[in-house]
Structure formats: structure tokens, C-alpha cells
């Protein structure tokens, strides 16, 4: 028995793999939920369905999904070209910090100016945070996984430093900034807590989706991500595309940070460092690095987050159980999606292709693309 790479895969296979992963997730998480003293079926219902039964619940789900939409999109854009940006967290925080700086520099701007400038500042903040790893990768070939990841705690420290230093609240003395001027407030949608940042996110999803699927650039990005050598051979400028994607990725994450402070908090607090960037990696990966996939997974994870709060109240389940559920889902989906590329064969594989010469005895090949 051995695994052999499939040459073709039937259309039903990818959805089937995800379905199997979901079932495995339910089976694996039932144990911990049981241990925590709740009935698994009731818990799953709370996690997934209950939040969607009331208008207020749906609003909360969308509110939770909004930052994930940005970070997920940011990660997907970078991963597409094979630039493994794990630094969406830092870029998100840098965006929030830059927006705050803007709000404090010109506190009295009217909303028509304040909001675009605030969002722009966030984008720039994200780009600045993404710049150094991208430069190191392009000029010296230094692995961006390490550099982007290591800049995340630096952003957290910068945030804490600013909030305990220059931006400390002079009235309360708490490490929170003062509130922004009234111009720096994204309008609410339909009288709920959902803010216009969601619309910005949806526009970015649409633009990204169209670029990836319907333009020459999208095809080039995919080619670079799947096979940089072959893409370069075909005249695609691999380094330039990765460089640009890295900066666009930082900008999108930075805008995420901007709309979070402009739409929800209206001030900068340490609670902004809630791991949205790391969850963005999950969102992008589960969403198959596609814009629509990111949207669907962001909403799903937002749903589970809201559900976890309600389950912790009504079923006395620890609120971390929501994290357990999404993490297990990530592992099972990623495994299932990787394994589906292989088929299980009894006995020996077919004779190797003679064109590959005598060294072609490699039954388990690397997972392509």
C-alpha cells in the first residue's frame, strides 16, 4: 500500500474532502465538549446556528468577521504568489497605530476628509510594516516567514509603548488613547454595530476576486505561486510580482486595522492586538486562497466566535472551546485537501516513466502547487 500522486482529480473530490474534514472535526471536538460537561450536539448548534437566528446575532457575526476579512485577504494575496506573509498581525496593528496618529495629528477634520485619510494612513502603516521583510526577501533572499513573523511582537510592543507613553490617557491614566475626533467615526449600517468597514472589505473581496480570476495579472500571480521557476522561464517577473504582492498584502491588513479602530473602538487600546492577523492565516488557508473562500471562512469563523460567547453563557462551556473548534477544523481541512491529491494503491505503482530516467523511483512526490 502506498500513496501515488493523482494525475487528474474528479470534480467532486475537493468538496468531498472538506465534508469529510468537517465530520472529522465534529467527531474530534465532541470529546473535549463532553469533558467540559456539555452535550456535543447542543454545543455545535450553539456555535454554528444560534448566532444566525436573530438580526442582532447576524450583526455580531458580521462585526466579528470584518477584521478577519481584511487579514484573510491580505494573507491570501501574499500566499498566492508564494510569499508567505505571516505578519498580517503586525501589519494590522501598524495600520491601527498609523490611523490613530492621523486622528491625533488632525483631530478636527470633517468625516469626508477624516475617513479617507484615516484609512489611507492605515494602508501606509501596513505597507511600512511589510516593507522591510519584502526588501530583505527581494535583495538578500531572506526567508519572509521568519522576518514577517518576528515583526509581529515588535508591533505589539510598539503599541504598548505608545499607550503607556505618549498616548496614555491623561484623564484616567489607563493605557488607552483618548477618543478620536467625531470625524473619525465610520458610519453604522442599518442601526446595528456593523460599520461601513464591512463595505470596504466587501469591495476589496470583489476587486481581489476579479483580479485573481479574470485578469492576466491573476494568472501570473498563480503561476508564480505554483512554480516560480517555470513562471520566470515564461517571462514573468517573479521577484517584482512577489514584492508588489507583499506590499499590497501589508496595505490590506493595515486597512483592516484602520477600519477596526475607526468603526468599533474610536480609540486605540491594547485589545486591538487580538490575533486577527494570525486568524487571517487560518481564514486564507481554509478559504483556498480565493477571495470568495476568504469571505465565506471569515463569516464562518465570526459565527463560531459569536457562538462561543453564547455557548459559554448558556452551556457554561469555556469560551476557548470556539478556538479549539476552529483550530481543529483548520488541521482537518488542510490535511484532507493535501491528502486528496493522492490515491492509495495496493502493491507496486506503475513502472516509472522511462523519460525520467533511472532515478525516477519516487512514489511519494511533493505536493504540487
Amino acid at each position: 500500500m502506498r500513496f501515488v500522486l493523482r494525475a487528474r482529480e474528479p470534480r467532486w473530490l475537493a468538496p468531498a474532502a472538506v465534508a469529510v474534514a468537517v465530520l472529522v472535526t465534529l467527531a474530534l471536538t465532541a470529546g473535549p465538549i463532553r469533558l467540559a460537561g456539555a452535550a456535543p450536539v447542543a454545543a455545535f448548534e450553539r456555535y454554528v446556528f444560534t448566532p444566525l437566528t436573530t438580526p442582532n446575532g447576524i450583526a455580531e457575526v458580521l462585526l466579528s468577521a470584518t477584521p478577519l476579512l481584511f487579514t484573510g485577504l491580505a494573507v491570501a494575496i501574499a500566499f498566492r504568489v508564494g510569499y508567505y506573509n505571516i505578519g498580517a498581525e503586525g501589519q494590522f496593528l501598524a495600520g491601527a497605530i498609523a490611523t490613530t496618529a492621523m486622528a491625533f495629528t488632525a483631530p478636527d477634520l470633517p468625516a469626508v476628509l477624516a475617513l479617507p485619510l484615516g484609512v489611507l494612513a492605515g494602508a501606509l502603516g501596513g505597507v511600512v510594516w511589510a516593507f522591510l521583510p519584502a526588501l530583505l526577501r527581494r535583495r538578500f533572499g531572506i526567508d519572509e516567514v521568519v522576518t514577517t513573523l518576528l515583526l509581529n511582537p515588535v508591533a505589539v510592543l510598539l503599541l504598548q509603548g505608545l499607550l503607556t507613553g505618549p498616548w496614555r490617557n491623561p484623564v484616567t491614566g489607563f493605557p488607552d488613547s483618548t477618543s478620536y475626533g467625531s470625524g473619525y467615526e465610520l458610519p453604522a449600517l442599518l442601526g446595528s454595530r456593523v460599520h461601513a468597514g464591512l463595505l470596504v472589505g466587501l469591495v476589496l473581496v470583489a476587486v481581489t476576486g476579479v483580479v485573481l480570476w479574470a485578469t492576466p495579472v491573476g494568472v501570473r500571480l498563480r503561476a508564480v505561486g505554483q512554480s516560480p521557476a517555470a513562471a520566470g522561464f515564461s517571462g514573468i517577473r517573479v521577484g517584482v510580482l512577489q514584492w508588489r504582492s507583499a506590499l499590497v498584502s501589508g496595505a490590506v491588513a493595515g486597512v483592516g486595522g484602520a477600519v477596526q479602530v475607526l468603526g468599533v473602538q474610536h480609540q486605540l487600546t491594547t485589545s486591538i492586538a487580538a490575533g486577527y492577523g494570525y486568524t487571517g492565516v487560518v481564514v486564507a488557508t481554509l478559504g483556498g486562497l480565493s477571495a470568495v473562500g476568504v469571505l465565506a471562512v471569515a463569516v464562518l469563523l465570526g459565527d463560531v466566535q459569536v457562538g462561543a460567547q453564547s455557548a459559554s453563557i448558556s452551556l457554561q462551556l469555556p469560551s476557548q472551546m470556539g478556538g479549539v473548534l476552529s483550530s481543529v477544523l483548520l488541521l482537518t481541512v488542510v490535511s484532507a485537501v493535501a491528502v486528496r491529491r493522492y490515491r492509495l494503491v495496493r502493491r507496486r505503482p506503475r513502472q516509472p516513466d522511462p523519460s525520467e530516467g533511472p532515478r525516477a523511483e519516487r512514489p511519494l512526490q511533493k505536493v504540487g502547487g
Binding site: 501570473r220 505554483q226 515564461s234
Partner: protein, 550 residues
Amino acid sequence: MTAADRGGPGASVPARPTPLVELRGITKRFGALVANDAIDLSVDAGEVLALLGENGAGKSTLTRILYGLSRADAGEIRIAGQPVTMTSPADALAAGIGMVTQEFSLVGTMTVTENLMLTGSSLGRVDRKAARARVLEASQRLGVPVDPDAVVERLSVGERQRVEIVKALLGDCRLLVLDEPTAVLVPADVDLLFASIRRLTAQGLAVVFISHKLHEVVEIADRIGILRRGRLVADLPAQGLDPVAIAALMVGATDQPGTPASAGDALGVHGETLATAVGLDGSAAPQAASAEVAVDPARPVALQVQGLTLAGDPRPRVDDVDLTVRAGEIVGVAGVSGNGQTELVALLCGTTAATAGTVCVGGTELTGLDPAARLRAGLGRLTEDRRGSVVLGMSVEQNLVLEDLDRFRTGPFLSRRKVRAHAASLIERFDIRAAPGDPIRSLSGGNMQKVLLARAIERDPTVLVASQPTRGLDVGACEYVYSQLRALRAAGSGVLLISEDLDELIGIADRILVLSGGRVVGEVAAAGATREALGVLMTGHAAAAGERAA
């Protein structure tokens, strides 16, 4: 003791003692390809057996089987008369067989002693002192100083090779396999290596020596085995053989597969041709090997390469190559694998930057241009790495348009309709057996080559650089590739055809350049070319003769 002492006729009489290592009926197949066909071969203690053959003749497969890296489909290996089964290099080492491959397996940041401690180190305490002593002892055996405390990455290639040999000798090594040991060495290191080999064989070690350099083989070997297309076509004493006779046996001047032929026969059959070839390369300067080749100077130059060089260690990989391909001609490049062909193609395609020299395509200077600009200048490419030339995860149509995506736009968007129509027309025109939406991964080698041909030819290139375009293809696909290359020539493009298949070059090219050691060592008109003449040039004999005369 030297080769001359032992290599007399008496050494090969039937009543010789049990050989140290004996291969009986070794057969290995890869699909339809028979890499080794019932090979019987033996080596005695204290003997140097040189294994010769063109690329793909089965030498590597045979040594891999001997070293336990690969298993034979049939046949047996006997050591001192006892049959042994070897399923891994560990078994081979235990049986007393050591091997030094072309790629070294040393950790660069460790010292020589530490590297040697990695092999065969069992659990328990690490005894650095003892290991160091063993290095010194082995270096004594070799007769060449090896510094046990030197850090490997600071050593020269020749020194690293000595470390590899020491590593192979550490166990109870009785047979040492050296796979093209001199390919990477400078002449001074070759002399040291040969001195070491003589010392070791005097102590009773048997050596299997693989090389493409015939003058070296004549110098060091006691016995010579020649493989051709998986069969052992000669197994005879080295005594009295000269490079010319060996070259004749290698390229098949005496086509009697299976029956070991003697040198005399070989010379008898094709003596005249060979003498011509040798007469040419005997005149010292490599340029002298160039026969008068009629090139119509009125035709525009499609590809002009001047002084193209790629530096390497210990010597340039591509060495001051000049060549010209005119519109409407096919220029072949012959050479034994690893003599700079791959690097030459990489330099032309722009995937590697040249150390010196210029490349012009139809009047456009390519130096410093990226692959996209080279494509625009009229360069077509067909490299030996087919699977590396396409994005395997994408479809046939996407790969077909990848180089010219902007041609298939409607406004800012990629028009799927245009892409599909273009792909469908190419699939029709080039008879590609696939649908536009099929993943390219699922295509056979021949079909993938058709996709790459279609992509290159459709752009109407000024010059097409085609490297090993028929390797691994079946007869029908080969014919197809030839017909396309001829059609391209007829349409007025230039073609640079790099191939190891001499029949292919003689059959399709107008003239043939021979590459050896990264240099162009000769040029012959295809019409008058023979396998033998090319074979002698290819084996580096001419270059070597040139070096020695210099």
C-alpha cells in the same frame, strides 16, 4: 605494481581465481527501457576496471545496483564467490563496497574528522581522538595528506574528493567505485588521484573507475568494460588499447552487441575513419579540428554568440564559446553530458547570468535582458527540463498563453474565449492529444513537448534553442519533433539543436559543433560527419591532446 605489470594476456585466461566481486546476469528495466541487459562483469583484487559508455548506456544504473541504491530485476552479485543481496548502501558497505559519487555528501561547516564520524557512527560516546587517528591512517593509505581538522567548505574540490575516498575506505573496503572522479578535477589533482589509486590497488583494493576521458582510462585501467544501450559490448584488458580503439568500441563502430570485440577488430572495421579523426585532433590546437564547413554568408545571422563564458570551480563551465546560427539552418551541438550544454542553454535563455561574452538574436543584444525581453527579441526555447518549463498545476491552455497573456485581453480582463480559441487552434495545428482545459500534469512526455513546441514556434522565433528535444520520447513523437524543426528551418528560422543523440544530429543538422569541457572543440559538416569522428571529439581526446601539446 602498475597496469603494465599485471595487464598481460595471462591475466584474462579462463582459469583465473575467484574474482573479488562478480556480477552475473544483472538486468534492470525502467518501463520499456532496458538500462542493464544481462550484464556479466567481475573485478579482481588489486585491479582497476574502467567502465565506459555513452550517456544513458547504463553505467550509473549498474553502479547504483552494485552500491545497493537500486535493485536489479534479475541476476546476482557475488562477493568472493558468495552470493549477497544488497538493498541499501549499508549492505554494500558491510560487504566491503565503497562508492564516491559525482556529488559529494559532506557537511560543509564540519571538519573532516567530524564528517567521517557521521558515517558509521553508532550510538554511544563520540571518540574524536580515535576518529582523528583513523583519518590520518587512511590518509597514509592514500599517500596524500588529508588534514583531519580542516573545515570541509574551505577545501578545494580535489581535497573534498579525497575526504570522500577516505570516508569510503573507513570500513573494511575491498572494492571502491569512483563515478567520474576526474570530471571535477584540475590536472594536478588528477595526477594525485591516480597515484592514490595505484597505491590502493597495490594494497589489494579493487577499483571500478567510470570516466569519459579515454586517455585517463588508458593510463589507469587494467581492464575495460564498455556498455552500450544497456549491454556489455566489450570486456577486455586495457593493455595495448589506445583511445582511438576504445572510442570505436564506445560509439559502436563494431556493432556486434553481446560479443566482446577486440581492439584489432574495431580498428579493422573503421580504421580509416578513426585515423582521420585522430589525425585531426592530434594536431594539438582544438581549432584545427574544424573542417571546412560551407555556410552561406549571405543569409542573415539569427543567433550570434561571442566569447560566452560562465565561470566555475575549478574551471569555467562554459569557456569562451563562439557560435553563429544563420537563418534557415540547423546547427547541432554534440557533447557528452555535463560538458557545458545545460549551462549554455541556461545562458542563452537568460536563467543564468554569463560571466563574460555576448549573445545577439537577430541583431538584438540579449546581455542583461530578462526572459521576457529575450522572448520579444525572437528567442525560442525548448529546454531539456520539460516539466520545469510549464506550470504543472495549470491547464494546457493557460500554459500555452502564459508567455503572451496581454495578447488575450479584452479591456483589462483576460478573455477566456480568446485563450480557448488560441489554444484550440494550436492543439489542432500541432496535433496535441489533450483538451484545452486538461491539467498539463496529466500529459505524456511527447504531448507536453508538443505543447512546448507549439508555444515556441507559434511566436515565429528568429532562432529556436532546442535542448535534447527528443529525449525520452517514442519514435513517433521524435519524428514529429524533427518534422517541426525542419519546417521551422524551411520557414527561415535558425535552430540550435543541443543533443546527445549523434544520429539525430547527423540526420537533421546542417553542421555540428562539438562541446567538450565547456569549449567548442570542433565543427564538422553534418553531411560528412560520422559517429566515430564525433565520438572521438566528444570524449575530450582532442582537448586533452591540445592541453598536453601546449
